[in-house]
Point group: C2
Chain length 239, copies 2
């Protein structure tokens, strides 16, 4: 006679199988002072103690209903905000990336406006925003360097066909700032007029009626309308 | 005094932490008889016994050095081939997708030529190629339906900007067959001439000098040159 699911579950014991270390780590990016910055955290414990690495940690089955929950929980612990844009990048796993055992990490990436989380990041002693250029020179924990590059590459691709990078900006923002974020991600300059045409065609931004008050010619300040995540350019920016 | 890594590892015990079920599942796609087909396997054990689902299984720490290894091992068990194209799609995880406990699955997708694995698939009683249309109507195990849709969407996007779909074809193949795979993935017809221009511009295919022998006008047979995975169209096919 065939066993029922109930009978099967009664004698199923997950602890009989060798456990895998499961962590969730997030590449948090923002735009500040004409640079793309990445949030790094100095590790306070083994392995790779005292190395900078990505904010993240072990999946907590009692707290996390999903992998996104685990990512958000770890981000909130360092920044005190829930990021407006969070995306899964890839999962890495191998028998030799962590000396504690077979380990896997689900890598997420989030874009956040620096203003929303600045106070909190500044108060966490071991967290700091690094320019991408600086971060690339550090010896990071585990394989976090590759994770950052994979996330950056994903955002670069998105910058070619969408305005997703706007989530790295503090709103309201100017279209010049937005173009600058795209330029930094893509790695080349973008024609101003064509960028403005794309912004207008997208109908994603509302003119707040206000302008910048600092030095130079006043520039119009925009805000993102809601529900813009799926907008795709009719034609990609040429990389 | 600070503890060394060696001391830390001595008393680190992974089994103290609740274990997560880690599986690797693959959406295997091929092209056959003017349709995109997906390989499904009838589950022989609980949970979701007797339902069709993706070929895959638990990560085996003693056999798998990486997640890709785990995917390839499970694919080879059903098809007896190593797929020419394998890509990670996404990782799903939650406390309620599997009655045995908190479970995650790393979803891969592979493109394979049907000829290479036909005999083996035919001999495995519980494995079968389904037309995408048929598969969409089945009640599949776990959340495998969403996994198939996510993989199909990824291949659709790739079909817009690359010739990656060629890996679903048995070589040598005609450019008409290749165009047909692109059309089926994208969901609309593609202009013949413009497609041939893209194929020529890519320099990805070698004319074998042979032609088709079946009914109708003979068509040139092509093979893929090596190292073509990274080629991107200058301009996307318009979806």
């Amino acid at each position: 006679m065939t066993e029922t699911l109930k009978e099967y579950l009664k004698h199923y014991d997950a602890t009989e199988y060798p456990s895998v270390l499961v962590t969730v780590d997030t590449v948090l990016l923002t735009y500040h002072e004409d640079a793309i910055k990445v949030l790094l955290v100095k590790r306070a414990s083994h392995p790779d103690i005292d190395h900078w690495g990505l904010p993240g940690g072990f999946l907590d089955q009692s707290k996390d209903k999903s992998l996104e929950d685990a990512a958000n929980r770890n981000i909130e612990a360092k920044t005190n905000i829930r990021p407006p844009y969070l995306e899964q990048i890839q999962t890495v796993g191998s028998g030799n990336r962590d000396p504690r055992g077979w380990s896997m990490s689900v890598i997420f990436s989030a874009l956040v406006p620096i203003a929303a989380c600045k106070a909190n990041v500044d108060s966490v002693e071991e967290a700091r925003w690094f320019d991408m250029d600086e971060a690339r020179k550090l010896k990071l924990a585990f394989d976090h360097k590759q994770a950052i590059e994979a996330a950056f590459e994903r955002h670069k691709q998105k910058a070619l066909y969408s305005f997703i990078p706007v989530y790295a900006l503090t709103q309201p923002m100017t279209l010049t700032e937005l173009r600058r974020v795209h330029e930094l991600l893509i790695g080349k300059t973008i024609q101003r007029k064509s960028f403005i045409r794309r912004a207008e065609a997208s109908d994603m931004f509302t003119d707040t009626g206000k302008t910048t008050q600092d030095k130079g010619r006043p520039a119009a300040l925009y805000k993102v309308k809601s529900a813009v995540k799926d907008y795709r350019f009719v034609r990609n920016i040429e990389a």
